[in-house]
Amino acid sequence: MSVGLRIEAVERHFQGFCALDAVSLDVAPGELLALLGPSGSGKTTLLRLIAGLDHADAGRVLFDGVDANSLTLRERRIGFVFQNYALFRHMRVFENIAFGLKARPSATRPPEGEIRRRVHALLELVQLAGLEARFPAQLSGGQRQRVALARALAIEPRVLLLDEPFGALDARVRQDLRAWLRDLHDKTGHTTVFVTHDQDEALGLADRIAILNKGRIEQVGTPDAVYDAPETGFVCGFLGETNSLPVSILNGAAQFSGFALRDAGTLPDGTKAELFVRPHEIALSEPRPGLLTGTILHIRRHGGIRRADIAISGLIKPLKAEIAPDIAFSPGDPVGLALGKAHVFVGQ
């Protein structure tokens, strides 16, 4: 049932503001893809465009090679789960889920008994059996979310679209639902695109992630690929915590105040660039000649790990580094820093 989705050079402008700028993206049948980006990056606009709730100023959206513009909303068969679920408040759960089936023209509408059977199967699937007579107002946030999902699944969607599916839920429910949604996707195999601004959600749930910034796609790849091999400074900075240092390329190395921190790859000498390094890629030791040195400002505990803020002369923001449990540093101590894996990008 699920189809592949292709987005070709789509553009969307809102009163002089470019929400989507030549965005192209392929989603394989049965794939679970995350659109990740900060607010205003265009991710929801792209999702609405795929759904047919908005139109592109240029470019095409294709379902299995068919231009979506040649299809009506009904023919597109998109299951859309809205951020605030948009449940029909005056209808009971059963009527909400049955809405899409009952709205079909009489030629393709299943008979009453079949609708009833399907709604109950969906209630079973989203683990809400027994709640069909409730009104949306009588459900918890997580339950509403699942009703919205069941309602979208009822029309046997070719593509399932979720707008910030966990945005309105508290942290614990969010964790549970994330695992549950992954299971559900593995069971049903719908081509699914979801929008999120939470990198943990995207990394933990999606097969692939498309990272958007200012209406452009910065990078598309598996969670491992985008996390371990970011292609731009934005991707590096957006996926998890990172430190950045201004560097200049000299003798084939990225240098910061005279220290060669990393080889410069293909960048020519004289280039100004930015070096990104994650806190756990900084190893702390006693200061030694040839090591970048700094002073520990303070140390804080984040669950199982300890974090130090280290002041470096010539850098306004202190660097964040992880401290191994067996190393005894105190605030005020001078430390030497050795960088592990780091990324160098030119210009932002």
Partner: protein
């Protein structure tokens, strides 16, 4: 061993927020009650007392008088048409304003409120100027057998004009606050435009629509100024209830005037009761849907 401390009473706060002096409260309440009784309760009571001053039989006679009955029928008919027209107009206007962005939207919102700021007499005169014997379209229509002014169409037109903000004004903020997500959800589920309207849009605004209809109806039945200009006061033919009251009063038939007026007063009381009931239901629904 704990040391026994002398119990010191807590110092009373110098100021308590929201706890104004008792005297101020009492004065305010008395002022409000006095104002209400002077301007609302006493006149309302007077209507009923005057109406029944000569006993029940004259009251019955005044109400069952042929002209009074004709006025009731006319008032009901005018209100029915005006409310229906304004429900359609109000839904269309609020839909357009809440769902679409277009040039001149703010102007449209201001224009909808226009009848509230125009004196009803002017509203009536507009129709005389347009459809009267010397009016713009009057002679043309008259030549084809259509009487607008001093006839039912004129009364309906004037009433529609005066009452058209009421439904739209209730619906616009409600529709705007609800956003369009519900409708988009229904559309993406494959519902047709009509189905979305009747199954989603309309049920979502039921209460504010009823509230608007109630206010619109009360105003339509009670409208005096605009209607008095266009009606021509042909007794038993173009007199609505408020006009009938005035005619009786001008004929020094105060008991009959008050008898008919008591019907309008009753309408006001029923409207008030329904309004309170609707607000209750509506608030409950609002609380549930949050």
């Amino acid at each position: 061993m704990s040391e026994q401390r002398p119990a010191t009473p807590p110092l009373p706060p110098r100021e308590r927020v929201g706890q104004e002096h008792r005297l101020i409260r009492a004065v305010l309440i008395v002022v409000v009650l006095a104002f209400l009784s002077l301007f609302l309760f006493m006149p309302l009571a007077t209507v009923f007392i005057e109406a029944l001053s000569r006993g029940v039989m004259p009251y019955r006679a005044a109400i069952l008088d042929a002209d009074a009955l004709a006025a009731m029928r006319l008032t009901g008919l005018v209100a029915l048409v005006a409310v229906s027209v304004n429900v359609v107009f109000g839904l269309a206007a609020s839909w357009a304003i809440a769902r679409f962005d277009f040039r001149g939207k703010n102007l449209l919102i201001s224009l909808i409120d226009l009848p509230l700021s125009i004196s009803p007499v002017i509203s009536g005169l507009i129709y005389i100027l347009l459809f009267g014997a010397q009016g713009l379209f009057g002679p043309w229509l008259k030549a084809r057998g259509f009487e607008v002014v001093f006839a039912l169409p004129g009364i309906v037109l004037a009433t529609v004009f005066v009452t058209f903000p009421y439904v739209a004004r209730e619906l616009i903020p409600h529709m705007q606050s609800q956003g369009k997500a519900d409708e988009e959800a229904a559309l993406s589920l494959g519902a047709s435009g009509w189905r979305v309207f009747f199954r989603i849009t309309l049920p979502n605004v039921t209460w504010s629509l009823l509230y608007g209809v109630l206010l619109c109806n009360a105003r339509a039945m009670g409208e005096f100024g605009a209607v008095s200009v266009v009606s021509g006061r042909i007794r038993g033919v173009t007199t609505t209830l408020p006009l009938h009251v005035e005619i009786l009063y001008n004929e020094y038939n105060a008991p009959a005037a008050f008898a008919v007026a008591s019907l309008l007063a009753l309408l006001a009381l029923v409207t008030l009761a329904l309004k309170v009931a609707l607000e209750w239901r509506y608030r409950e629904e609002r609380a549930l849907s949050r």
